[in-house]
Amino acid sequence: MTRYIIRRFLQAIPLLFIISIVLFVLMQKMGDPIATMGGRTQTRSADRERLTRVLGLDKPIFVQYLYWLVGNDWAKIDLDGDGITETSGTRKGVLRGDFGTSLVNRGVPVTTVIAQRLPNTLILMLTAEFVIVAGALVVGVYSALKQYSLLDHTITTISFIGFSMPIFFIALSTMYIFAVNFKKWGLPYLPTVGMFDPIEGKTLLQVLWHMVLPVFSIAFISLAAYSRFIRSTMLEVLNQDYIRTAKSKGLPRKEVIFIHALKNASLPIVTIVGLDLPLLLGGAIVTERIFAWPGMGRLFLDHVSRSDTPVVMGIMMLIATAVVVFQIITDVIYAWLDPRIRYT
């Protein structure tokens, strides 16, 4: 098992290199990063030349990639443009944990920019994931037990619709019903913008209250997919011989369902949760945009539109790395939970 884990991590290294190269090439034409540098005015042409040299944008792409990867503190760079390389670089490179500095928020390290937004996204997404898994377990198990009943058919239909629904449609509809119309009818209505009311301040209650609609929107769609999945694994397990044995030896129905069946049926759920978790880091771009939630998704959108390549690159590498690592963790946990699987 240890050898398997080591091998998987060794395989992940070239994979991450390929990903970073693909992304780095894409970053090259993301627009002009020094057009305004996040300010309102155009960069002057004298500054432009200097900034190009400072940022290393005058170098060929593979040198830029090398500097991004291992930094340039070992190399001399030419800052004043006289052809003599005299100043040593300051960047440490990604391999030493330096993702560069943001161009829009001048001089702020990318890691700080991301760290400011990450908690907001995680609060939202982890809550949503919890709602999804808990809800899908209830719905999935129930419709598996009552297979082909009216309620099962209804649930299947709703989940099919939910599965096909783009997230902005559900977000806009719930916004329209629970915020706009509830306000009109004088009922207590849900907020639609931001994380908290600026007058009330960032209290736990405020954040929770503002989370209701975004969490519902994210959860509704994934809930549909998850509960369909749980229903089918549950049905599969319920037809196994050991369930019949458990029933025939007179175990209480609850024990058979929740201990014998559900425990085994929930194994495959580990896989889908494990593969979805890293994507939570990126947040739900569309949901965060609609509800003006200050998370990673909006950070990404803002910085893509302003060509802030270091931040965009940092976010995408963070997510891609998380995806790769979580795949390995998921496989290991799965093998640990299911003794039938042995990796060598």
């Binding site: 627009g31 096909s164 902005f168 916004m175 893509v304």
Partner: protein, 323 residues
């Protein structure tokens, strides 16, 4: 179709005389007949086909009643008008008629869905087939690349690529109509980011199919490799490709809607169901019609395509015994 059915049992009879088997055995069905027989039992799939047909009719026959000028005509005096008899779906922020725009937007959305999938399928088949057929170094190189593409979340990749290819393509003149060049960009990037999943399916099919005797026979008779891949192996792996491509159309339409919704997709004045929603949430209190109608159309088309794909999956499943 009926002629084929009538002919086949005659041949069957001549081979098996005097056992009365021809009464018991039904005539052998071709894959297409078998698939259709199973497909038509799938009630939701038929429902999907009908809704899909109506939506296509809506967006293409609608051109008879509305010219493209009426879809793009702006009149700020009419801005944010609620649905009325003159404008059944209301008007948007600069007074364009939403009904006419959903018709023209539907065309673009459907065309984007179909062409993006064509690109996806071509790339996916090519890479999957090469990896699966050759194996070895080719396989591991191509699959590492596929895996790398799979590990970057698609929506992030799409937004970056939309920015990358941004103004690469100028506006196009097709059939006397002007299309924003961003339509081509969107088709290209959706196609170029969706193939990894499909190519994995194709590779898996090829890995098992290439061990069959008919491939050995083809190779022994000196058939060129391109023919072995495309004429001998590919037709045998068509079922999962068809299912995946069908669901891919729905996926492409949704993705286009997402990117356009975020303001990085198809640019106005060319309408799509996605870019009609861009900014609609700013007017959620004043104008529900701005997002409701294009949104509903997207839900309907995605839902109906998913039903069709689900039906096809059941109908094409080789393990299924139902006739």
């Amino acid at each position: 179709m009926s002629e084929d059915v009538a002919k086949l049992p005659v041949e069957g009879k001549s081979k098996i005389p005097s056992f009365g088997l021809e009464e018991i055995e039904s005539p052998p069905l071709s894959l297409r007949q078998l698939t259709w027989r199973r497909f038509r039992r799938h009630r939701m799939a038929i429902f999907g086909v009908i809704v899909l047909g109506l939506l296509i009719l809506y967006s293409f026959a609608g051109t008879i009643f509305f010219t493209e000028e009426s879809a793009n005509r702006t009149d700020t005096a009419l801005r944010l008008n609620p649905p009325s008899s003159a404008h059944p779906f209301g008007t948007d922020t600069i007074g364009r008629d939403i009904l006419a725009r959903t018709i023209y937007g539907g065309q673009i959305s459907i065309v984007i869905g179909l062409t993006a999938v064509m690109l996806e399928v071509s790339v996916g088949i090519l890479i999957g087939a090469l990896a699966g057929y050759y194996g070895g170094v080719t396989d591991s190189l191509l699959m590492r690349f596929t895996e790398a593409m799979l590990n970057i979340p698609q929506i992030f990749l799409l937004l970056v690529m939309a920015k990358y290819f941004g103004d690469l393509i100028p506006n196009l003149q097709v059939f006397g109509r002007t299309f924003s060049g961003s339509v081509v960009v969107i088709i290209m990037i959706i196609g170029l980011t969706s193939w990894p999943y499909l190519s994995r399916i194709v590779r898996a099919e090829f890995l098992s199919l290439k061990e069959n005797e008919f491939v050995l026979a083809a190779r022994a008779t000196g058939t060129p490799i391109s023919q072995i891949i495309f004429r001998h192996i590919l037709p045998n792996s068509i079922a999962p490709i068809v299912v995946s491509a069908t669901l891919g159309v729905a996926n492409a339409i949704t993705l286009e809607a997402y990117i356009s919704f975020l303001g990085m997709g198809v640019r106005p004045p060319t309408a799509t169901w996605g870019n009609m929603l861009d900014g609609a949430y700013n007017y959620i209190e004043q104008a529900y019609w701005m997002w409701l109608f294009p949104g509903l159309l997207i839900v309907l088309i995605v839902l109906s395509i998913n039903f069709v794909g689900d039906g096809l999956r059941d109908a094409l499943d080789p393990r299924s015994r139902a006739v």
